[in-house]
């Protein structure tokens, strides 16, 4: 389903090349749950962002369902992100000033779905994530764990086949972590493909991981 081939990423800062990822190879099949761990700053987020079509590699390519995403124009990538990929950010990246429900339903707006229907579709998902009494709260009034669950609801809103989660447990308490793990387990049972980054052993222990990679000094092992 996802093939990473000879993928490298170099950042440029003050005219200097900073290699982040070097010649990575990875294959993720449908329904698999893959975990990538490694120390902070090793490039886990960058790798996940490239796989999620949020960034382009410097060299190499990512192939999703036989489509070379690295070479696709931006509007195709948008379409891919909208229809196939759900992205859970480490820092939640919710939009302040919108309620939990409005944030969760944001991916539906470009599909031409009106606010009533967006609400109708977002409510069960937020209920499922235990946010039934927080739906109309401003996201800035929610705890970190609640915000993470809103971010998960947003990622799942378009029922994507691939879920990419960047350290989903790093900013939540133990109780919320358990709840999130429960949700992920559910998603895997439904046949979703998951790629997670994490540097705590909790996720690896709690989920049926099919492949675990370690990213260090820009290389996977």
């Amino acid at each position: 389903m996802i093939d990473v081939k000879s993928l490298s990423k170099v950042f440029f800062q003050h005219g200097e090349e900073i290699p982040i990822l070097a010649d990575l190879e990875m294959t993720v099949s449908r329904g698999e749950c893959v975990i990538i761990d490694g120390p902070s700053g090793c490039g886990k987020t960058t790798l996940l962002n490239i796989m999620g079509c949020l960034a382009r590699p410097t060299r190499g390519e990512v192939i999703i369902d036989r489509r070379r995403t690295s070479h696709l124009p931006e509007h195709f990538l948008c379409e891919l992100r909208r229809s196939r990929i759900g992205f859970i950010f480490q820092q939640f990246n919710l939009l302040p000033g919108f309620t939990a429900l409005e944030n969760a339903a944001l991916p539906l707006a470009p599909l031409g779905i009106g606010s009533k229907e967006r609400r109708r579709r977002a409510e069960p998902l937020l209920d499922f994530l235990g946010l039934e009494d927080r739906k109309d709260f401003q996201v800035t009034d929610l705890s970190g764990g609640e915000q993470q669950r809103v971010a998960i609801a947003r990622a799942l809103m378009n029922n994507p086949e691939i879920i990419l989660a960047d350290e989903p447990l790093s900013n939540v308490d133990a109780l919320t972590a358990e709840r999130i793990i429960g949700v992920f387990r559910d998603l895997l049972e439904k046949g979703k493909t998951m790629i997670l980054t994490d540097h705590s052993p909790l996720l690896a222990r709690s989920l049926p991981i099919t492949n675990a990679y370690r990213l260090e000094r820009g290389r996977l092992s």
Partner: protein, 395 residues
């Protein structure tokens, strides 16, 4: 493109304006102020021009004046007689007119115009209609016809007396013979008609001298040729067609409005720059949000559309609010602006000519929305074209 998609964006765009209240207000306040001034100026310019053009329609086909020593001088019998003999000239009518101080409960100025018996007999052909009393007769002396608005404002009726003061400070009493109306409010509000001899005495004109001569042609379409011939016949004589005077009015009010509009436009551009600053370098948060929206599947065009909707809402609020403020300001008499804009005519214009026309509204929409759109859409487009990853990381 589905219409439902655009409809789905509107509430989000509206919420964005509320979410970023500070930015919205920072852009809206200068926009409101600028649009109010631009609207007041545009409505007043359009109104004045429309009024001037309506008033011009009552003028003769060609107006003949004489320059003496570089200034407007008086014309005389010799010119009158010569013009009357030209081909295509139906009649040439002398006029004596000028400003007159009005005394009484509502002091001010009016234009007192003395016209000959021929013209007095044909006032209705020039759009004058009688509201009460009677038109002037050949032998009337010291009698006047006053405009409807003028009469209403001062409570004047036929048979009443009005006192006018000439340039020498002499007070002259007139008996109101009748009240006329005209679709040009300039006449209905500030024109007093009398006979030629009474006007001559009021303005101290020598016998056989006039302010100007109104020439009526058999074929008004050949007014240009007639004006050229009259101008060329004698040194110092100038002849204007109605079209010449209309052009002059357009130039005069166009340039007065243009100068002010330019000043306000500079303010508008500064409002746009504020929006630009808020939308680009200052609001890193906004750029990050664009990255997030793209990450969850929004296209660059979706983001730009939302920004355009926000701009349209702010712009329309600014334009409509500015327009309403302008109307309120004009209703209060447009302090400062009226004296600048109607300078030279203001004293004789007892009302503010205001016109809200399509062309003016279109111009205001264009002036209001174009800089604002550029200032908000371009930063959104620039952010929208970079990778979501970079937009999110760097804001």
């Amino acid at each position: 493109m589905k219409l439902s998609k655009h409809a789905a964006f509107w509430p989000i765009a509206a919420r964005n304006l509320l979410r970023y209240r500070g930015r919205t207000i920072a852009v809206l306040i200068p926009l409101l102020a600028t649009m109010a001034c631009l609207s007041a100026l545009t409505f007043l310019k359009d109104g004045t021009l429309a009024e001037a053009l309506t008033a011009l329609s009552a003028l003769p086909d060609v107006t003949v004046q004489r320059r003496e020593g570089g200034r407007d001088g008086s014309t005389g019998e010799e010119i009158l007689g010569e013009i009357s003999r030209y081909q295509n000239v139906r009649t040439a009518q002398p006029r004596i007119w000028g400003r007159a101080e009005v005394e009484g409960e509502a002091p001010g100025e009016a234009i007192l115009a003395g016209v000959g018996a021929d013209l007095l007999a044909r006032l209705s052909e020039s759009g004058f209609s009688l509201r009460s009393g009677r038109f002037l007769r050949d032998d009337d002396r010291g009698r006047a016809l006053v405009g409807r608005l003028y009469a209403e404002r001062r409570g004047i009726a036929p048979g009443d007396h009005i006192d006018l003061v000439n340039e020498s400070g002499q007070r002259v009493a007139f008996t109101v013979a009748g009240v006329f109306d005209h679709r040009a409010r300039l006449y209905a509000g500030g024109l007093i008609l009398t006979d030629l001899e009474t006007a001559r005495a009021f303005f101290n004109y020598d016998p056989g001298r006039y302010t100007d001569v109104g020439v009526y042609l058999d074929d008004p379409l050949r007014a240009d040729q007639a004006a050229l011939r009259i101008s060329a016949a004698r040194e110092g004589v100038r002849a204007f067609t109605r079209a010449d005077l209309a052009d002059a009015a357009r130039r005069e009010y166009g340039s007065r409005a243009g100068t002010s509009q330019l000043l306000w436009l500079m303010l508008l551009v500064s409002a746009g720059l504020t929006a630009w600053a808020q939308g680009s370098s200052v609001s890193l948060e906004m750029r990050k949000e664009i990255g997030v929206l793209k990450a969850i599947g929004w296209r660059t065009l979706d983001v730009i559309e939302i920004k355009m909707m926000e701009t349209a809402m702010i712009g329309l609020i600014g334009i409509l609010g500015g327009g309403l403020l302008a109307i309120a300001y004009l209703r209060l008499g447009a302090p400062l602006l009226s004296s600048y804009f109607l300078d030279g005519a203001g004293a004789a214009v007892p009302f503010l000519p205001i016109r809200i026309g399509w062309s003016g509204v279109f111009l205001l929409l264009l002036l209001g929305l174009a800089p604002l759109s550029a200032a908000t859409v371009i930063p959104a487009w620039r952010t929208g074209t970079i990778d979501p990853d970079r937009a999110i990381r760097n804001g």
